[in-house]
Symmetry: C2
């Protein structure tokens, strides 16, 4: 149930009374709290408020981050999305999406699902100059948190060698969620020294060969891909490297039964379209095939052996925090998500940070493997 | 709607009036006709009558063929299903399942879905000695139709070099569907010269190494797998070779978007459990990975190129029939299934048979590839 205070806020935002009751009834609105700041999180979309939207007690609203459309045929996709018009090409960084916003006197980091993340909120001051929010309290910084020490992902991009980093890729207004133009964003990022995803330049469809070269370069450097954006941010499309597709499959195969089939099949599809578009043949084709097969099979077979030897399917994460209480808040956060976590180790790095190592266990995937390994006979 | 004649038959079989109305209401019962013989086909299960059950106008009932349970860990699966008891091991032949039955004075071949198949019904006299049905009118011969010239599958087992063959693997009673024991079945097959799936012998769990060798042999001969059966047919389990898993993926990848994700993922799962159980490592592991990757990617990429060059996703089938009318009946049968077919060629083989070549087109898979190739931007 949402309190009357939030009811009034949501009604004022234009959500009809009736819609509000339906949403509440099916648990689409959840009231939550972070260090004394209350907020409502949208678990479903409602009347222009996307899933992941957050409404704060003071009336501030941060819209859910929009899902960016994907293309799997680069040349035709660009023609279809951008026609002959120019577009910026920026790196798609492999991390987790956060929206950073100042509410009252606190800077908060919100995850895609609309949670204030205790870890990211604690760490975000290490990466972002908060003067920005003093000068622009009405703007939201959207970016990717990425690195080898992340609470949500087992891997980061190759150029983040330790810990985690923030990479800005969008600045939006509170409330309506309108994006600043690319130029305005880049100017502000420079002015305040906010780390930004790499900008590869302005392209148009006539430079398709340069884009192919860029994709090859990113692929060989084990980077995820690109996001193409019209200067006014009205048209956006993403495209990923074959490396990212295969690497995602490799990471997912370890927890095979915990992921929907579509996770794997979508990435196989993207890889196939890449091979078709680039007319990859012969030995090079076979190398991709082998890499895909190994990505699908090797971590999965290792997990089967692990379970066969009485182990569990699990992933290990490390994060660096300034306060151990932040680690405990993360555990509570994961519990709320129904995720099974154990803290394995807490190490004092003697530089103001603690390194927390924790293990995520996958009980369903473990059980499924165990049953099949134990000889379950089943109808499929 | 089911006519009152069939209503009475179904009521007499013990399906409650109410259940019957519900089944009819959702289209679970379909009345059909083949050369003057009327029948009702069960599209859903109902009170012991499995999907695919057929009730004929004379009261004869042929139960839907039961789904045989699968194991993916051979040693533990055998222990769990058969304990220390012996079981027959028979070949699992890669074809389509038919139940052959005499109704009034006609021998009919029924597909898994409960259709009288015009093609199989015409051809079945080439493989089965009909004296059997004169002597045992109450028995149903269940077997696999397999070969390179099949209306339902693009490939057959390697040892059927041309046309198609019937391979018996079960004899059941009309009505209750009780199976004869393996010994009785083998005796009757021999007595009437009915071709039978290969029987590899009687095994028990102490001979697991012989079974591993058998699987290796079948794998290297490009055969599908085994079905293990207690002598009284009460306990049955199937296990397939890695060859079959990879080959099915190769065949399916050609029509990637026409198959559910599970089709591919189930086979990847089976392959992973094989590799885990046999502790396949090093180069041999990589060979499997490469074969899997090629199976997933190569036919799929070929289909993308085909569609990119204004073609369609399609499969070509050939069948041998004695009467051209049979080919036309098959076309009508496919139309009824919503399958898009074109006859490409009719050739007189001058030996009493016509060879019909037809093409199955996959409009949905074609459209999906075309849209993606043309640069569709989509949210996934």
């Amino acid at each position: 149930m949402v309190s009357s205070h939030f009811r009034n806020i949501l009604l004022k935002l234009g959500i009809p009374e009736e819609r509000l009751s339906v949403l509440e009834g099916k648990g689409g609105l959840v009231e939550d709290e972070f260090e004394g700041i209350r907020y409502v999180r949208f678990r479903d979309s409602a009347k222009g408020f996307r899933r992941g939207t957050v409404a704060f007690e003071n009336g501030d609203v941060v819209l859910g981050f929009p899902h960016i459309k994907r293309i799997v045929q680069l040349e035709n996709g660009i023609r279809r999305v951008f026609r002959n018009k120019p577009f910026y090409v920026e790196e798609k960084v492999d991390g987790y999406n956060v929206r950073v916003v100042k509410v009252r006197d606190k800077v908060l980091a919100i995850t895609r699902g609309g949670f204030v993340c205790p870890f990211t909120t604690e760490r975000v001051e290490d990466f972002i100059n908060f003067d920005f929010f003093r000068d622009y309290p009405n703007l939201v910084l959207a970016g990717e948190m990425a690195g080898p020490e992340s609470p949500y992902l087992v891997e980061g991009p190759p150029y983040v060698k330790e810990d985690i980093q923030f990479f800005l890729f969008d600045i939006q207004e509170k409330g309506g969620g309108k994006s600043l133009s690319v130029e305005e964003r880049l100017k502000l990022a420079e002015e305040y020294g906010i780390p930004h995803v790499e900008v590869f330049g302005v392209y148009d469809r006539r430079r398709i060969d340069d884009l192919y070269d860029l994709i090859e370069m990113l692929h060989s450097e084990r980077r995820e891909g690109i996001v193409m954006k019209s200067p006014n941010m009205k048209r956006i499309a993403k495209y990923v490297t074959p490396y990212a597709n295969i690497n995602d499959i490799r990471i997912g195969s370890h927890i095979f039964f915990d992921l929907p089939h579509g996770y794997f099949m979508q990435r196989i599809k993207r890889l196939a379209f890449y091979l078709a578009e680039k007319h990859v043949k012969g030995e090079e084709f076979d190398e991709y095939a082998k890499a895909l097969g190994k990505a699908l099979l090797r971590p999965f077979v290792e997990s089967i052996h692990e379970v066969a030897n009485s182990g569990e399917v699990e992933e290990v994460f490390t994060v660096r925090v300034k306060n151990i209480t932040t680690a405990h808040k993360m555990m509570t956060h994961f519990e709320g998500l129904g995720v099974k976590i154990h803290i394995e180790d807490i190490e004092d790095l003697k530089n103001g940070y603690w390194r927390i190592t924790f293990k995520r266990v996958y009980p369903d995937a473990t059980r499924e493997i165990r049953e099949l390994w134990n000889g379950l006979a089943f109808v499929d």
